[in-house]
């Protein structure tokens, strides 16, 4: 059969297209590159969903943050509330790909691509994000740990589209950070990445979330490391113990970006940096987001 391409203007049109076997494309930053690298051939039937109305809404309130599936990384970095309250997510979106990738690439596409090296994955997990999947038959909302089943694999059915990502509001005293080891700032994915979200109360760690990136088949939290940090005063020894516990959960592979041994060694380093920066931010200190938000037309608030 010769290939086909359609562009959906409504969600119903998009859902009907995927129900009949078409594969969705949104920002288009992964699909062609993936095909060229031999990951998967270009789908025979493609439906573009980037012009579906209503899916680029970004809503932030006291309850939390809702990202429509078409919200771009540039949209995320440009939003002052996200930079202030979901800082690790802004850290991640600020360094995805290049200016072009951030202008075109969507949060929904990023999540559904399910790369164990994706930058936004750790922050989304640590902020307890859920995703809503819609099909012509209905919708369901699941956690990311239930969505990601392996490298490039999700539990979503072929007729389901991710329509939104929801993050509950972090409490008072929260600080967060995502850091990655990289060889080049742009058009790079994580050699090793780490995310930390810490909540301080009376100077002690009331809650902690730590996730590792490019160190396991899917991005995952490390509960053993989180437990190590909770209840401590977050001094240097406590940070070191938590970072060590984080690295112990790594089961990295060797590939073109690094050997398993190197990744394992760097896991503790990156975890230390993420935890330290999250603590600094929780205490009101300044750790800048790695690319200037002014690039996205953001006005400093």
């Amino acid at each position: 059969m010769s290939p086909s391409f359609t562009s959906a203007s409504t969600l119903d049109d998009a859902l009907a297209a995927v129900a009949s076997g078409a594969r969705p494309v949104a920002g288009g930053t992964d699909l062609v590159v993936g095909a060229r690298q031999g990951k998967a051939p270009l789908p025979n039937d493609i439906v573009a969903i980037d012009r579906v109305e209503g899916l680029r809404a970004l809503e932030i309130s006291d309850a939390g943050l809702r990202l429509g599936t078409l919200v771009t990384h540039g949209d995320i970095v440009a939003n002052a509330d996200i930079r202030n309250r979901f800082t690790a997510l802004a850290d991640a979106s600020a360094i995805v790909g290049s200016h072009a990738t951030r202008a075109q690439g969507t949060i929904g596409g990023n999540v559904m691509n399910a790369s164990p090296a994706m930058d936004t994955g750790g922050p989304l997990l640590c902020f307890d994000a859920t995703v809503t999947l819609r099909s012509a038959k209905g919708e369901r909302t699941i956690g990311l740990d239930a969505l990601w089943t392996g490298p490039g694999k999700t539990s979503a059915a072929p007729d389901e589209l991710l329509v939104s990502v929801d993050l509950p509001a972090p409490g008072e005293g929260t600080g967060s950070c995502y850091v990655r080891l990289e060889y080049r700032r742009q058009m790079e994915i994580a050699v090793v990445g780490a995310t930390a979200v810490v909540v301080l109360g009376d100077g002690n760690v009331a809650d902690a979330r730590i996730a590792i990136t490019a160190l396991t088949p899917t991005i995952r939290r490390v509960p053993a490391a989180e437990k190590t940090l909770v209840g401590t005063a977050a001094d240097a020894d406590a940070v070191k113990a938590a970072a060590r516990a984080t690295a112990a959960a790594a089961t990295p592979i060797s590939d073109v970006r690094g050997s398993a041994e190197y990744r394992r060694a760097m896991a503790e380093v990156m975890a230390t940096r993420a935890i330290a920066a999250a603590l600094t931010r929780a205490r009101g200190g300044s750790v800048p987001i790695p690319a200037s938000p002014a690039m996205y037309g953001a006005k400093e608030s």
Partner: protein
Amino acid sequence: MKVAATLMVNGTSYPVELDPHVSLLRAVRDELGLTGSKEGCDDSECGACMMLLDGEPVNSCSYLAMQAVGREVTTVEGLAGDEEVGPLQRAFLQQFGVQCGFCTPGMLISATALLRSNPAPSDEEIRIGLSGNLCRCTGYDGIVKAVQQAASGDVPPMRGAPVHADATPPHHAG
């Protein structure tokens, strides 16, 4: 099988027949004859193929041409007037931001996108804004200075004969 579509590039409508899998870069170069945009890595790494899509930068080598239908595409040819290249291009010439020239179309497009969202970028912001574009000749300093000069608005006209933009496609449809 190719399908009929219309691409809007640099303000001109081009009726074309497109393979649904063809990239925007191949369509613009091969179907429209606008060869300013270059294919470097063909993998979204080098930025030589950079175009604007509704004003936002896109790696056109890795973007389906069909997905650009209904959007306004700008290539380097669209940055020049009929008689003279634009101020950003003059700044690249005046600051020696061009050597072999292969990366230049992509650099100019990325710099245009940067200056639109951030008209007075710092040195670091220029480097971040252009860091999806690789240059193997200049060492980047001349390029950064060129963008600074363009942002300052003080770009004198070039002496000598006007530079004619070679922007007319072989089968101009507009």
